[in-house]
Symmetry: C2
Subunit: 330 residues, 2 copies
DNA sequence: GCAGACTTGGAAAACGCTTTCCAGGAGGTT
DNA sequence: AACCTCCTGGAAAGCGTTTTCCAAGTCTGC
């Protein structure tokens, strides 16, 4: 293990000089000494010990990213966006996966706090469980008191910088668009009861139908993933249009309908939410509400890194995209 | 920022005792002191400074994971598998994305070395560029000399623990299965020339056709992603079966054929490789060679963590899965 | 030439932990 | 009762950096 001291000795300079040459300081170092140090470092194969550096500087160059499920294209897209801005800033990214367990989110914040990461990014829906949210806030506050920065993609519930997708509005716009196609009987594949993103979308969709004077939709709960969509879709009947509160659930629903011999969109129309990238290659192509996922991830990390007095909330609008999976009723 | 010393003082014990209580040591501490320390830590909201701990211990509890593209389901699945074993071992995961640039892989190894991560996992195909590979090996050797562990998912080229998918054999088996269906004229959507995984699959497929006395396939290069598959597929003609060297390319090919009005499998059969999870919901369901991706990622990290004298190579067989995208010729 | 203002290099004190020694006391054995 | 051993607690020496002071030059402009 070659240390900075080894380099300094080998180059015949002081530790201070070696440090200044190798690890970006504001101080100037004469050309000849600088060259000596660089040569010595190269010859010895010196590699900065980041732990020591972090300790001495009191600041690390890693950020934490907590997602629900990395294999879900929604989170993969968010993560990708965030990681690109991290790369530009020469930051490393530490990733934690909660596997949809809100408790694990708290544990990760605690761990990332211990790591003294520069910023923590919480991606994904908040939970309706007040107690969990309270404990998460507590943990976040502790982290922020010691100088940590936090941003969140999801509901603005934590008092931190937040990129908040307009779930209600997006779902409402989708409902109106579908109603315009002539649909009257709707089912919602609603996701878990405790998930706020799911709730908001259900609420927005339902409220819009109500405003239009249409009958209340059939609400079927299930898990927030592909299989949840599949399961819920097996219980659908007597409607002309199904709204899955996210795209992966819609994909599951498509599969379920296929297995049941129900044609989409001839027998039933299907719409999702998010516009995950993999969507465009489905048959039929899925109607959805587009969210700029990568941009949202990137924006969230930017917010976190850009220190500000007040917590900022950036609302992101969704854009209804009608594709083949929904048809106009004649 | 509350330090261990604050806790020790607050509890009226020495630094050593506080350390032993809070950060898992082999040494016993009497029940009463232990309680005092724990109380003090809780009251003050103490959080270990991992950087200091890492420095003092000379060992960190993070592992590095380098992937080509996190939004590619192939890598998401590998990463997920690896991250699950990391979670079980209480390790944090630092993720780097090369965006398919082999040079960035070297840079990441260097950075992860500086972080003194316990192990680094290189996921994804090696490159045919000898010079880049040499420099990567150099960087890896430097890291390993200072006690780092390395594992790789891909070709066994780095002299480290490797989980090596049987690309040649899998592709050959696929070729034979397709030939058995009566296909004689093949095209291969071959990926980039410099990517060894792509090469191996092309080679295996081609060799098998040759052994069967069938004409050599049409080989079309393109990028290793969805769009590469799409592009390459636009140049396909005069064959009954197309083999895309990975699933995302096959998905692109499906889209291209759809756009060109070519029916799959009626007009042309399509097969991929990997069996990414999103595949099962495509129409038509894609014939492919199944690789246990999550298990491979997990296994690789296990290998890296389990110190051994010799570098081990675990070969992983692929299993041909015939689905609707390939049909038997009459 | 010389006062003053910059530059440049080095010594040494942090940074917050872990762990090796020591020392003292408790318990067990002759 | 004397001697060992074992166990527990604390002092202090690192771990590898950064950075604050100092000191010693090197330039300016008069």
């Amino acid at each position: 293990m070659v240390t900075l001291e080894d380099v300094a000795r080998h180059a015949g300079v002081s530790l201070a000089t070696a440090s200044r040459v190798l690890n970006g300081s504001t101080r100037q170092v004469g050309a000849s000494l600088r060259a000596k140090v660089e040569l010595a470092a190269a010859q010895l194969g010196y590699r900065t010990n980041v732990a020591a550096q972090t300790l001495a500087r009191g600041a690390s160059n890693v950020v934490g990213l907590v997602v629900h499920d990395l294999t879900d294209p929604y989170f993969a897209a968010l993560a990708d966006g965030a990681m690109r801005v991290a790369e530009n800033q020469e930051l490393m990214v530490m990733v934690g996966t909660t596997h949809r367990d809100p408790q694990r989110e708290i544990a990760y914040v605690s761990t990332l706090n211990a790591q003294r990461v520069r910023a923590v990014l919480l991606a994904g829906s908040r939970t309706a469980d007040q107690e969990v949210t309270r404990r998460l806030r507590e943990e976040l506050d502790r982290y922020r008191e010691s100088g940590g920065r936090v941003a969140c993609v999801g509901q603005d519930l934590l008092g931190v910088d937040t990129v908040a997708p307009a779930n209600r509005e997006g779902a409402a716009a989708l409902a109106r668009a579908l109603a315009r196609l002539g649909h009257r009987g709707f089912a919602i594949l609603a996701g878990p009861e405790g998930l706020l993103t799911a709730r908001d979308r259900v609420a927005g969709f339902t409220a819009a139908l109500d405003e239009l004077g249409l009958p209340a939709p059939l609400v079927l709960h299930g898990s927030f993933d592909r299989d949840g969509g599949y399961q819920a879709a097996t219980r659908v009947s007597g409607v002309t249009c199904v709204f899955a509160v996210n795209d992966v659930m819609a994909v599951g629903a498509l599969a379920a309908f296929r297995d049941r011999g129900i044609r989409v969109p001839e027998d039933v129309s299907v719409a999702g939410f998010d516009d995950i990238p993999t969507l465009r290659d489905l048959v039929p192509a899925l109607t959805t509400v587009r969210l700029p996922l990568a941009r949202m991830g990137a924006r969230a990390l930017e917010l976190a890194l850009d220190v500000a007095e007040e917590a900022r909330v950036v609302s992101v609008a969704g854009e209804v995209v009608l594709r083949e999976s929904t048809r106009a009723l004649d």
